[in-house]
C-alpha cells in the first residue's frame, strides 16, 4: 500500500514521537497512566458500578463501617460512601481539569501576545503577571472566591485564574527565544500574519515546555480544587466531591475513619498518578531538548 504524498505524516523519529515513546516506556508513567485510567473509568462508570443513590439519605444505615453491603461504609446520613466516592471522583477530576485548562488557555494566550508583540503591552502584562504571582496560590483563589462567592463553577474559575501567571510567564519566555529564530523571520518575509505565526509556528514549538507545566499542573489543580471544597468554598451539600466529603467526615474522625480515609485516598491516588506521568514527561522533554541541541 502506497502512502498519499499530499498527506503530511509525522516522521517516526521526530522529537515529538521520540518523546512519546520515551514517556510510554517509562515504568512510573505506565503505572501512573494505568492508575489514572482506572480512576477515570470507575468514576464515570459509577451508575453501572453501584445501585445506590449518592444523595439519598437512609438514617437507619447511618455510620456503618466498611462491610459486604457497603464496601466503604456509610456516612452520618446513611449514604453509601463508595457511591459518593465514585460520583465525587467525577466532580473532583472535572474541577481539576477545568481549572488547569482555564489557566492554560488564558495564560498561554497572554504569554504569546506579551512575548511576541513586546513594547508597552509586554511591560504592562508582565507587571500584571508579577502582581498576580505575588499572591500565594491558595490566597489568590480565596480572594477570587471572596469576590464571586462560593460554588463549584467559581472554584473552577478561581483555580484557573491562579494558574494564569505560571502559564503566561513560561509561554512568554519561550516566545522571546523563538521570535528571533530564522524560520520565524522567513515566515514573516513570506507575508504570514502575526496571528498565523503565533498559532502555526510559535505555539507548536513552545508546546514541549508547556507540556510539563500542563501535566504537573493538573495534579496541583486537583489538589487546589479539593482544598477549596474542603474549606467549604466549592460544592454545596449534598453534592459529592472528595474535598467536601473529607470536610463533612471530619466531625466523625474519631468513630468513623472511613469517611475521611477514602475520599483523601482518592485525591492522593489521582494526584500521584498525574505526578508520575508529569515526571516522565519532564524527563522526556529534557531528553529531547538535550538531543535536539546536541548537548
Amino acid at each position: 500500500m502506497t502512502s498519499n504524498p499530499i498527506t503530511p505524516s509525522i516522521p517516526s523519529n521526530s522529537p515529538g514521537m521520540r518523546m512519546l515513546r520515551q514517556i510510554l516506556r517509562n515504568r512510573s508513567a505506565q503505572f501512573g497512566g494505568l492508575l489514572l485510567l482506572m480512576l477515570i473509568v470507575v468514576s464515570f462508570a459509577a451508575p453501572l458500578l453501584t445501585s445506590f443513590d449518592p444523595n439519598k439519605n437512609a438514617p437507619s444505615q447511618a455510620l456503618q463501617p466498611p462491610g459486604m453491603e457497603h464496601l466503604m461504609g456509610t456516612d452520618n446520613l446513611g449514604r453509601d460512601t463508595l457511591t459518593r466516592f465514585l460520583y465525587g471522583g467525577q466532580l473532583s477530576l472535572r474541577i481539576g481539569l477545568s481549572g488547569i485548562f482555564i489557566g492554560a488557555l488564558i495564560g498561554i494566550a497572554l504569554g504569546l501576545i506579551s512575548g511576541y508583540f513586546g513594547g508597552w503591552l509586554d511591560s504592562f502584562l508582565s507587571w500584571f503577571n508579577d502582581v498576580l504571582m505575588a499572591f500565594p496560590d491558595i490566597l489568590l483563589a480565596l480572594a477570587i472566591i471572596a469576590i464571586l462567592g462560593p460554588g463549584i463553577n467559581n472554584a473552577m474559575l478561581a483555580i484557573g485564574i491562579s494558574f494564569i501567571p505560571s502559564f503566561m510567564r513560561l509561554t512568554r519566555s519561550s516566545v522571546l527565544a523563538l521570535r528571533e529564530m530564522t524560520y520565524i523571520e522567513a515566515a514573516r518575509a513570506l507575508g504570514s500574519s502575526d496571528s498565523r505565526i503565533l498559532v502555526r509556528h510559535i505555539l507548536p514549538n513552545s508546546i514541549r515546555t508547556l507540556l510539563v507545566l500542563l501535566t504537573l499542573g493538573i495534579g496541583s489543580s486537583i489538589l487546589a480544587g479539593a482544598a477549596l471544597n474542603f474549606l467549604g468554598l466549592g460544592a454545596e451539600p449534598p453534592t459529592a466531591e472528595w474535598g467536601a466529603m473529607l470536610n463533612a467526615g471530619m466531625k466523625y474522625v474519631r468513630n468513623a475513619w472511613w469517611l475521611t480515609f477514602f475520599p483523601g485516598f482518592g485525591i492522593f491516588l489521582a494526584v500521584l498518578s498525574i505526578n508520575l506521568i508529569g515526571d516522565a514527561v519532564s524527563d522526556a522533554v529534557a531528553g529531547t531538548t538535550i538531543m535536539r541541541e546536541g548537548i
Partner: protein
C-alpha cells in the same frame, strides 16, 4: 550592587502598587451591589444600605476612594471589620504571630526531613534507598495537606493520644501535628532539591581532590559536599516560607488554630470584605517582602545575578 538594589526595590514597589489596586478592587468587583451581598437580600433596607455605603466610603468617586484607601493603609489603617467592628490591622496583628510560628515550625520540619532524605538518596544514588526516597518524595508532593493532617490526627491523637487534635498554643505538643502536616509536602520538595544538588556537587573536581587527599568520607560529605549543596536550597527557603504562609490557611482551619489564614476563610463566609482585603493585602505584602529580601541576599551572594 547599589544599582541592583535600587532596581529590585523599584520592581517591588511597582508590584505592591498593583497588589493594592487589586485588593482595593475586591469590593468593586463583587457582582451586583456589594451592600446587598454583605447585608443579605432579606436584611436590605434603604437606611442600612446608606449607612454601610457611608462606612465603606462607596459614595465618593473611585479615585478618591483608592487615594483614601492607600493613604490609610500606609498609616496602618485598613478599616474596620463589618461584623466585629474591630480595626482590621488590630485583628491581623493578633493573628499574625500564630501563622508565623506555624510556618517557621513547618520550615524546620521540611528542612530537617528533606535534607536528611535528599542526602541519603544522593549518597546511595541508584540503589533501593534512592528509589524509596524518590517514591516518598513523589507521594509527599501528591498527598493533600488536609488528608495527611487527618491521618496524623487519627494516629497520634485518636489512637496514641500523644498530641492534641485541636491546639492553639505554641508548645512542642501543640505545634507537632500542624507543623508536620504543613511541613511534610515541603520536605518532599527539599529532598528532591538536596538530592539533585548533592549529585551535582559530588561530581565536582574539588570533591575528587578532597578524596584524593585522603580525607575521611564523612568529612568530604559534611565539610565539602553538603555545605555547597545546601546553597541553592537555602536561597530557596525564602520562597518556601512565603508559600507556607499561604498553605497555613488549610492547616489553621483544620486544627482550629489562630492565624490569618483561618481569619481569611471566616471573613469570606461572613462576607466581611474589609477583613478579606486586609488579610490578602498583608499576606501578599509579606510575600513580596520575603521575595525581595531573598533576591537581594542572592544577588549579594552571587555577582552574576547582580549583573543580569
Amino acid at each position: 550592587m547599589f544599582n541592583y538594589l535600587i532596581r529590585r526595590l523599584f520592581t517591588s514597589i511597582l508590584v505592591l502598587f498593583g497588589i493594592s489596586v487589586l485588593v482595593f478592587s475586591v469590593i468593586h468587583l463583587v457582582p451586583g451591589d456589594v451592600t446587598t451581598a454583605i447585608l443579605g437580600r432579606q436584611n436590605v433596607n434603604a437606611e442600612k444600605v446608606a449607612a454601610l455605603r457611608e462606612q465603606l466610603g462607596l459614595n465618593d468617586p473611585i479615585l478618591v476612594q483608592y487615594g483614601r484607601y492607600i493613604s490609610n493603609a500606609l498609616r496602618g489603617d485598613l478599616g474596620a471589620s463589618i461584623r466585629t467592628k474591630q480595626p482590621v490591622s488590630e485583628a491581623i496583628a493578633e493573628q499574625l504571630p500564630g501563622t508565623f510560628t506555624l510556618a517557621i515550625s513547618a520550615l524546620i520540619v521540611a528542612l530537617s526531613f528533606g535534607a536528611i532524605l535528599g542526602l541519603l538518596a544522593a549518597l546511595r544514588h541508584g540503589s533501593w534507598v534512592d528509589t524509596l526516597v524518590m517514591g516518598l518524595s513523589v507521594s509527599g508532593l501528591s498527598i493533600p495537606t488536609f488528608w495527611m493532617g487527618l491521618l496524623l490526627i487519627l494516629f497520634f491523637s485518636v489512637r496514641l493520644k500523644l498530641f492534641p487534635s485541636i491546639s492553639n498554643g505554641s508548645s512542642f505538643a501543640d505545634l507537632f501535628l500542624p507543623a508536620l502536616t504543613l511541613g511534610v509536602p515541603e520536605a518532599a520538595v527539599v529532598a528532591r532539591m538536596v538530592r539533585a544538588s548533592m549529585l551535582d556537587v559530588l561530581n565536582k573536581e574539588y570533591i575528587t581532590t578532597a578524596r584524593a587527599k585522603g580525607l575521611p568520607k564523612y568529612m568530604v560529605i559534611l565539610k565539602h559536599a553538603l555545605r555547597n549543596a545546601l546553597i541553592p536550597v537555602v536561597t530557596f527557603l525564602g520562597l518556601q516560607m512565603a508559600y507556607l504562609l499561604g498553605g497555613a490557611t488549610i492547616v489553621e482551619t483544620m486544627f482550629a488554630r489562630q492565624g490569618i489564614g483561618r481569619l481569611a476563610v471566616q471573613s469570606i463566609f461572613s462576607r466581611d470584605y474589609p477583613m478579606v482585603q486586609g488579610v490578602v493585602l498583608v499576606t501578599a505584602a509579606i510575600y513580596v517582602l520575603i521575595n525581595t529580601l531573598t533576591d537581594i541576599t542572592y544577588g549579594f551572594l552571587n555577582p552574576k545575578i547582580r549583573l543580569q
